[in-house]
């Protein structure tokens, strides 16, 4: 008995293993017991729950990536949209210019504004056409809205336009209805002044002011602007007429330089 006990105590781990093997075999024998189904169910649910959390984390990570990609795509689309709008606006502007070119009685040289003058006291635009394009000093410059100014300087490939909103700019102008002639110059503000129109000449607001054609520079009939305001002073001989320019000088992008009158128009 003592030997047996000694044997048992010396090989405790082996006996324990044999016990586990016996227990395992016993369990294998009763493997499909109903009582275990509940335990299995709980454990399987726990695993399913963990799996769901893992799935949720994965979905969340994927959504974050997707969100980033969508944000980037949105940004790109906005940029494209802005570019497309630009193209649309440019298209409309060029269409107007094309209409002007085909309907104009003059030989026109198309030009793009590539800069604004930096000279002190002179308000100018720089064009991408010059002497090589037959552009010369004192040629009138127009766009689809009306008169822009005149060429005051040229190089072979570029030229400078003095715009109407310049202190040194004076244009012989005519009121379209009364046919009265005056001189348009810059007021120093956002409008032009039409000078030397006698008090007794009836002038209406909204009346068109065009070039008179009496100067060597500007051909007749070019739109300068419309009468915006009329002020009469008791002691002045002339009316003070404010003209709203036809051209928005801050937004000029394409212009035409009037080179000469077309042959057929000259014959007429």
């Amino acid at each position: 008995m003592k030997r047996l006990l000694t044997f048992f105590s010396l090989n405790r781990s082996l006996w324990l293993l044999l016990f586990y093997i016996f227990l395992s075999l016993l369990l294998m024998n009763f493997s499909d017991g109903r009582s275990l189904r509940g335990v299995r169910l709980v454990l399987l649910q726990t695993i399913e729950w963990i799996d769901e959390i893992k799935e949720a984390i994965t979905v969340h990570q994927n959504m974050e990536k997707e969100l980033l990609a969508l944000k980037k795509e949105n940004f790109d689309l906005r940029l494209t949209n802005i570019k497309l709008r630009e193209v649309l606006i440019e298209n409309a502007r060029l269409r107007k210019l094309l209409e002007l070119k085909t309907s104009s009685p003059y030989h026109l040289v198309a030009a793009r504004v590539i800069g604004k003058g930096t000279e002190e006291g002179i308000r100018t635009l720089i064009l991408n056409v010059g002497e090589d394009d037959s552009v010369r000093i004192n040629m009138a410059v127009v766009n689809a809205d009306g008169l822009v100014g005149r060429i005051i300087s040229t190089t072979t490939s570029e030229s400078i336009v003095q715009i109407l909103m310049d202190h040194n700019s004076l244009v012989s102008a005519r009121l379209q209805q009364s046919r009265e002639v005056g001189v348009v110059g810059w007021s120093g503000n956002s409008w032009l002044d039409l000078q030397y129109i006698s008090k007794n000449i009836p002038v209406k607001r909204g009346e068109l002011v065009i070039t008179s054609g009496l100067s060597q520079i500007y051909p007749p009939g070019l739109k300068i602007g419309v009468v915006a305001d009329i002020i009469e002073n008791e002691y002045d001989w002339f009316k003070e007429i404010r003209v709203k320019p036809a051209v928005n000088f801050n937004a000029v992008e394409e212009v035409f330089v009037i080179r000469a009158l077309r042959e057929e128009k000259r014959d007429e």
Binding site: S13, L16, L17, Y20, I21, L25, M28, S31, G33
Partner: protein, 161 residues
């Protein structure tokens, strides 16, 4: 002591849950996937001996049987033997660097052979294919992953002896 038991309980529980949820989808390559439970059991048995090893193996195997829908008791049988064998490598005589790898290969091999034997009962299975295509590559995969794990957490088990 009780504190350690609770800790090890959670370690084994974590291994069981990870094996069921993360290991299969993330680490399975063709038929092979590392056996995390086997790795943890071998590390534990190496540090705590045959009795603790076979007990842990029995309990972990039983738990894995309950979780999976396999034959109840089969996992308990395989893993109690695995724990016992791995525990026998934990004596002072074999405390070498390669101790873990040898224990893992021997205990894991026995574990897989018993598993294969019971799974092949009543089925027409090729032992050659099972051993060379499934068991040995799987053991190598488990050994590689196990070595990495042992490198990082092996000491943790040792400190809690």
């Amino acid at each position: 002591m009780n504190r350690y038991i609770i800790r090890y309980f959670f370690v084994f529980l974590g291994a069981l849950l990870l094996q069921s949820t993360v290991i299969t989808p993330l680490f399975q390559i063709y038929y092979w996937k590392p056996n995390l439970i086997l790795i943890v059991l071998v590390i534990f048995s190496l540090h705590h001996g045959q009795m603790a090893g076979s007990t842990a193996g029995f309990l972990v195997g039983l738990s894995s049987d309950i979780i999976s829908s396999s034959l109840l008791g089969l996992g308990a049988l395989c893993k109690s033997i695995t724990g016992y064998i791995a525990g026998s490598f934990g004596s002072e005589l074999v405390r070498e660097r390669y101790q873990f790898i040898v224990a893992l290969f021997v205990a894991g091999g026995v574990h897989d052979i018993i598993m294969l034997f019971f799974n092949s009962l009543g089925r027409d299975m090729s032992w050659k294919v099972m051993i060379f295509v499934y068991m040995i590559p799987n053991l190598f995969y488990t050994a590689i992953v196990g070595t990495i794990i042992y490198y990082f957490v092996g000491r943790w088990f040792h400190h809690h002896e």
